[in-house]
Symmetry: C2
Subunit: 231 residues, 2 copies
């Protein structure tokens, strides 16, 4: 990693609480910065970075100020160093062992998803309750019985579990994950999970972005539904 | 659909511009309302609905006011009717034909994803450039050659395309989609697409939620990265 430009006086961990909305944008900035680094860009203005990330530049500057990153007047941000700062803030500069439970098509896709590995998420086990899936090799890992969950979480210090099962199985899987010591769950199953305090759950609904597109598409075409317009 | 309770005087389409952040929350409300309907709930307070959707109730009330939905004092919202109002606002009360391009594991998972169909998105074609995948039956559809894109978009009035190809192929697929007349693209490929004005692109990055979990997990465990804390 290159040495920082113009950031030497700024404490790297100001210790401030970062607002949740800013936390949610940090991965987006990280992705934009990685694209800039890959494209050979060494420094960029807040406007350039904001454009690449799809936010306005005032919001970007405010967000980055929580990290103690203010750029350098007339130079902008050191792309490589800022990427490092954000990765460190998120916690991606160390390794996160992850288990995926439910190795259907989505589980397969997640196991093979390069975006996990490149951000420090290391899939250490693929588990499925169906014996027909066991011993299948997916992304270089053998699919294991779900009953090995506790063992794997304990021996590999797994803190993050990914649920890619059908909805009906998801709560049981979450309960077993929590009992085994997992404290963060990424849920792809189309159901709401209930977990004890201290366990974080985030849900990915693959249809939400499609619904947002439909909203705009409907307005573009001027095509309104034919059902009664009012009660 | 049941007749509305306490909404009769409120115009169903106030014609106001809905803020983008509200648009993004409408699918979340819709999901919560569907769960309430499925659980047999007929009316609910804004607090109950806000809790189910994971937002605060003031924000919920503000969001729903854009739809002309204010609930009834002492009664709350008619769950079934509110669900219909939101579905209509998003455009889900009519049918959206969708094509999916790239039928690897993720494409398989998307083709089988029940959350699309239940929201009015009808997958009309699965396309892949690889001849080895052609004629395979996925979710009741035969995988077709990518070259049939223009034909299918034209004959089936497809406005929305889903890209589930590797990153390297995604821009070419997007260009072909746009040339064929598609005006909304949902991009799962880990790359930024460039499209002309008037075409909407939304990107799903499966790792972003995982990164947000990592941020909180890091703070829970007090585990800080070992790299130099400051420049």
């Amino acid at each position: 990693m290159r040495s920082p430009v113009g950031h030497a006086d700024v404490p790297a961990r100001p210790g401030r609480e970062i607002p949740e909305a800013t936390v949610a944008r940090l991965p987006v900035y990280l992705r934009a910065l990685t694209a800039l680094v890959d494209g050979g860009t060494a420094t960029c203005s807040s406007e350039e970075l904001a454009g690449a990330a799809g936010v306005n530049s005032a919001k970007l500057r405010k967000d980055l100020s929580y990290l103690g990153s203010y750029g350098t007047r007339g130079v902008g941000y050191d792309v490589d160093y800022l990427r490092y700062q954000i990765a460190r803030e998120i916690g991606l500069t160390h390794d996160w062992p992850v288990v995926i439970v439910g190795i259907g098509n989505l589980g397969h896709a997640l196991a093979n998803y390069s975006g996990f590995r490149s951000r420090g998420f290391r899939v250490v086990a693929l588990l499925d309750a169906a014996t027909t899936r066991h011993e299948e090799l997916v992304a270089g890992l053998e699919v294991r019985p779900f009953d090995e969950l506790e063992d794997i979480v304990g021996t590999q210090s797994v803190a993050i579990g990914v649920i890619a099962t059908p909805a009906v199985a998801a709560q049981d899987v979450a309960d077993r994950m929590v009992a085994a010591g997992i404290t963060s769950i990424l849920n792809f199953a189309p159901t709401v999970l209930s977990v004890p305090d201290g366990v974080d759950v985030r849900k990915v609904d693959l249809s939400i972005e499609l619904q947002i597109l439909a909203y705009h598409e409907q307005r573009k075409t001027g095509q309104l539904p034919t059902e009664g317009a009012s009660a």
